[in-house]
C-alpha cells in the first residue's frame, strides 16, 4: 500500500520536474497558488496565467536542508551552493514576502555552522521562519543551540504559527523525542497545541503547514514519514485548502490527498537517492556537472482572493 504510493509520488515528482524545466519564467523554486479550495500546481496553468498569479498575490520562498558544515564527496562546498541559492533568490524579479527554512540548517549543530548559515540566509534581508531538522539539535545541549537562536516566541521544541495576508502558517517540529523503530514524531503536547491553535481559524482560511520530516509516508523503510502525522491531518480536515511543505529527503515529491497537498523541497547541499533505489538514504555523489541540477529551492505563490497555491521548484543549475 505504502509502496504503491511511493511509486506514484516518485513518478509525479519526475514528470512534474520535467514539466517545470520547460517553463521559461520559472526560476529555481516550488510555486503554489490558492484557488477554489483545491491547490493546483502551476505547471497546470499557462505561463501567462502563472505570471498573472504571481503579479496579483504574494510569494514566499522555501529553502531546506542547507547542511552548513557538510564537506563530504557528495558536495565538498555546501556553503557555496547555499550562497548560490540565496543569490538566485535575491535576483528574483518579484521578491518573496518572506522565507521559510524547513530544517537541517546545519550539519552538526556547531556554533560556527549556525553562524555561517545565519550570515548567508538572514544576510539576504528577508524575514525567515525556521523549523529545526534533526541535524540542528545535536549540540551538547540537545537542541539548546537552536532554541537560543530561533526559539523566541515559539512553544515546546520550537513550534509556532503566524498569519500572513489571510493565510494561516503552522510551523511544526517532528524531530525530537524520536522512539526506537519509529519515524518522525510530533508528540501529544504539540498535537494538543495544534488543536487549540486551529480553533479560532475559519475553515475557508488557507493553511500552510511546514515541518522538516515529511508528514506523509514517503518511504517508512528509510524513516521518511511521521508516526503521528495522521492526528495532525485529522485536525486539518475541515479546512478547504491545506498545503504541507517538508524537506529532509532532498528531492521533490508531491501528493494530493483530498484537500491536502503535500510537497517536499530540494536541498541546497546534496541530493539523496530516490526511495528504494539505493542500499540506504544518505548523501548521493553524482558527476560534478549534475550536482546543481539536483539542488534548489521552492517558491510558493498565494493569489489574493483565490484559493490555489502555486509552487515552482527551481534548481541551481
Amino acid at each position: 500500500m505504502t509502496h504503491h504510493h511511493d511509486e506514484d509520488s516518485g513518478r509525479d515528482g519526475i514528470s512534474r520536474r520535467h514539466a517545470l524545466e520547460c517553463m521559461i519564467w520559472a526560476g529555481t523554486g516550488v510555486l503554489w497558488t490558492i484557488s477554489g479550495g483545491i491547490p493546483v500546481s502551476l505547471n497546470l496553468l499557462g505561463a501567462a496565467q502563472a505570471a498573472e498569479a504571481m503579479a496579483s498575490g504574494f510569494t514566499f520562498l522555501q529553502i531546506s536542508d542547507s547542511h552548513i558544515g557538510f564537506d563530504k564527496a557528495a558536495n565538498p562546498h555546501a556553503i557555496d551552493t547555499l550562497k548560490e541559492a540565496m543569490g538566485k533568490i535575491q535576483a528574483l524579479p518579484q521578491k518573496p514576502a518572506f522565507m521559510i527554512h524547513t530544517g537541517d540548517i546545519t550539519h552538526l549543530s556547531k556554533p560556527a555552522q549556525f553562524d555561517n548559515a545565519a550570515q548567508i540566509i538572514d544576510g539576504a534581508g528577508f524575514d525567515v521562519h525556521y523549523v529545526p531538522g534533526e541535524h540542528d539539535l545535536i549540540d551538547d545541549g540537545n537542541g539548546k543551540a537552536y532554541l537560543d537562536r530561533y526559539g523566541k516566541g515559539t512553544r515546546g521544541a520550537g513550534w509556532y504559527s503566524f498569519d500572513q495576508n489571510g493565510v494561516h502558517f503552522v510551523a511544526l517540529v517532528n524531530v525530537v523525542n524520536l522512539k526506537a523503530g519509529g519515524l518522525g514524531n510530533l508528540g501529544p503536547e504539540q498535537l494538543a497545541w495544534l488543536a487549540d491553535d486551529l480553533k479560532a481559524v475559519s475553515a475557508s482560511t488557507p493553511i500552510v503547514v511546514f515541518a522538516h520530516i515529511p508528514l506523509w509516508a514517503v518511504y517508512p523503510e528509510w524513516g521518511w514519514g511521521t508516526d503521528d502525522a495522521a492526528q495532525a491531518l485529522a485536525l486539518l480536515k475541515r479546512f478547504g485548502s491545506v498545503t504541507v511543505l517538508n524537506g529532509h529527503i532532498h528531492q521533490i515529491m508531491q501528493k494530493v490527498e483530498g484537500n491536502v497537498t503535500f510537497h517536499t523541497a530540494r536541498s541546497t547541499a546534496f541530493p539523496q537517492p530516490a526511495p528504494g533505489t539505493a542500499a540506504s538514504p544518505g548523501p548521493m555523489t553524482v558527476p560534478a556537472g549534475q550536482l546543481r541540477g539536483l539542488l534548489g529551492t521552492s517558491s510558493v505563490n498565494v493569489k489574493q482572493g483565490g484559493k490555489d497555491l502555486a509552487i515552482i521548484d527551481s534548481t541551481l543549475a
Binding site: 563530504k72 564527496a73 557528495a74 550539519h107 552538526l108 549543530s109 534533526e134 541535524h135 545535536i138 551538547d140 524520536l178 522512539k179 526506537a180 523503530g181 519509529g182 519515524l183 517508512p220 523503510e221 528509510w222 524513516g223 542500499a279 540506504s280 538514504p281 544518505g282 548523501p283
Partner: protein
C-alpha cells in the same frame, strides 16, 4: 610510566608478576580485542552482538551522515557521531540491550550480555 631503564628480562619478570598479582591484563586485552559495531548504510553491523559482562563495545560511524547511539532503556547514549567518530560503552550487567539511532530511529540493533 616507568622511566627507569632495566634489562629486558627483568622488565618481563616485573610485568608478569604485576599481571599475575593484580589481573590488570584484562582491560588491556579488551582494549585490543574490543568488538566493533560498524554504522554504515544507515544500519548497525553486526545487527546483534553477544558479549561477556565487562566487555567494552566500540561503535564507529562509517557513513557521511551523523548518527547517535541510544539504548532503548536509556542506559547509554552517545553524542552525535560524525564520520569516523567512535563511541565506547562497557557492558557490565547481563541482559539484552536494544538500541537505536537517535537521529534515524528506524536503525536498530541489540547487544546481548551473557556470561
Amino acid at each position: 610510566m616507568l622511566c627507569i631503564r632495566l634489562p629486558a628480562r627483568h622488565m618481563v619478570a616485573i610485568l608478569t608478576a604485576f599481571a599475575l598479582t593484580t589481573g590488570t591484563c584484562q582491560p588491556l586485552r579488551a582494549a585490543v580485542d574490543a568488538p566493533m559495531v560498524k554504522i554504515e548504510n544507515f544500519a548497525f553491523t553486526p545487527h546483534e552482538l553477544t558479549v561477556k559482562p565487562g566487555t567494552r563495545v566500540i561503535f564507529r560511524n562509517d557513513d557521511d551522515i551523523p548518527h547517535l547511539v541510544v539504548a532503548n532503556d536509556s542506559s547509554f547514549r552517545s553524542k552525535a557521531l560524525d564520520t569516523g567518530d567512535t563511541y565506547e560503552f562497557t557492558f557490565t550487567k547481563a541482559g539484552d540491550f536494544a538500541y537505536f539511532c537517535g537521529l534515524h530511529p528506524h536503525m536498530q540493533g541489540k547487544i546481548t550480555v551473557a556470561p
